[in-house]
């Protein structure tokens, strides 16, 4: 079976003034399948966000290949790719205007006119993200952070993408709101046949929703496996140390 997303030997380094280039990511291989949530966990500064940004070409790797359903993403127009591989950034940014106008933005970027299909898309994504239709005409910036993050996800899903990248989606939310959002993401992934890649340092979130986990530390995948196996039978000292950090599991 061809994986929805496949990263092969990805390396990323960045130029540093008057010094050798800094290695951000080294030989990363990662697979994400449809209807599954693949989490990338690890300490801050380990390269998680840099990694996820490569998958929808928000930045470019130094070397390596990335495939979407078997097609090299560098052969796809970057604008088209970003419509197929949606990305939700850490802090939800709401554009001026109503929730509806925010949801319609991806269509306006592709210059397509509003029609019944789009109305259906709005209704579908509102339902998927468990947003009340009563919010549609509300000013998007007046919503709570939790609601804004749901609108953020709904907006990313409106073009019916093949995969979704989530960069620390619950970091700005309180625990009950984060748990509610996590449950919604899990439902969306299963109901929409989406391949979801979740970047987080929140182990509790990864444990609740992820099917498969990659542990990324200092730009290297130190360990990977099924969620249940990895969190309970890890032998990697860095991961054991990471798992033992207080509050990561919300305990």
């Amino acid at each position: 079976m061809i994986p929805a997303i496949y990263l092969e030997n990805i390396c990323l380094s960045k130029a540093v003034e008057n010094k050798l280039p800094a290695v951000i990511l080294k030989d990363i291989c990662l697979t994400a399948n449809s209807s599954q949530i693949t989490a990338v966990i690890g300490p801050s500064g380990g390269g998680k966000s840099s990694l996820i940004r490569l998958i929808n070409r928000m930045s470019e790797p130094t070397s390596g290949s990335i495939y979407l359903d078997g097609t090299d993403i560098f052969s796809i127009n970057p604008i088209d790719l970003r419509r197929q591989v949606a990305m939700v950034l850490q802090k939800p940014f709401m554009f001026e205007g109503s929730v509806k106008s925010n949801l319609l933005l991806p269509f306006s970027y592709s210059n397509s006119k509003f029609n019944s299909d789009k109305q259906y898309s709005i209704e579908r994504t509102m339902e998927l993200t468990r947003l009340s239709p009563a919010l549609l005409e509300r000013n998007a910036r007046s919503l709570s952070l939790g609601e804004q993050q749901r609108v953020n996800i709904a907006r990313a899903l409106i073009t019916n993408p093949r995969a979704m990248l989530l960069d620390e989606p619950t970091s700005a939310l309180d625990r009950p709101t984060a748990d509610g959002l996590a449950a919604t993401v899990k439902e969306i992934c299963q109901n929409s046949m989406l391949a979801v890649i979740l970047v987080t340092h929140d182990l509790r979130l990864a444990e609740r929703v992820a099917d498969y986990i990659y542990f990324l530390d200092s730009g290297v995948i130190k360990e990977n496996g099924l969620t249940t196996d990895l969190l309970k039978q890890s032998r990697c000292p860095e991961l054991i140390r990471f798992l033992e950090e207080p509050d990561l599991l919300g305990r």
């Binding site: 960045k14 951000i24 801050s44 500064g45 380990g46 390269g47 998680k48 966000s49 840099s50 940004r53 929808n56 070409r57 928000m58 930045s59 470019e60 970057p78 604008i79 088209d80 970003r82 419509r83 949606a86 990305m87 939700v88 950034l89 802090k91 940014f93 554009f95 933005l105 991806p106 970027y109 592709s110 907006r155 990313a156 073009t159």
Partner: protein, 264 residues
Amino acid sequence: MEVQKIINLEVIDLVISYGLVLFSIGLTSLSRIGQERHLFWSSLRMVFQLLAVGYLLQMVFSIRSPWPVIAILLIMSAFSLQVLGARIKNKMPNFYRIVGLSIFIGCGGVTVYFCSLVVGFSPWYNPHYLIPLAGMIIGNSMNGASLAAERLTSEITERREEIETAICLGATARQASQTAVRNAYKAALIPTINTMAAMGIVSLPGMMTGQILSGTEPIIAVRYQIAIMCAITGAVAITAYLIVLLGYKQYFTDAHQLKDQPTS
């Protein structure tokens, strides 16, 4: 109406007028704001620079050749670019290339249009007309150019989150930076709009005042002022438009990626 002959200012008149600068220096010294030296040196610079320009222009006027005129215009443009560069701290990538090209096309194009179609002097390089008119067009466009370049940089820096969100949603670099570009362009045009609105009521413009002092009939001076204001507006609008249009692209790659992304 009888046209008055211009009153020539002798050296003694300049000395008397410089007394006002000396009075100002005394006043700042009393106020203890520590600006006496700046005031003194600036006033000396002003005197020597203007005298040098005066003698240079007199020399250029006497040579019947387009080359000295072109050289003066190029030097003026280069200085305006250098002043702009010194004024702006956070410069956009390729600042000098973009602003230089924009000033060249915006101010150069408007100067050619204005001098050939509106004033219509002969020969085309007549320094009596070309140098002051082009000087006013370039000088007044500098403010708009500076505002456009400076504001575009700050808008794109401050709106990074908004721009990246739009790109993630499938926007092109142009669509994602639309608000930043519009705000920068608007900021560049506002001073020109305000100057036009206030002209004649709040202030009497320098060119018109100068012409009236030199004996030109007020209505002719007013016609010149109206025409030059139209030219300045056109030059500011074109120069600033080119700066924001070429400028925003410097922040993006060909794959519509915002450059200099922070790492996690």
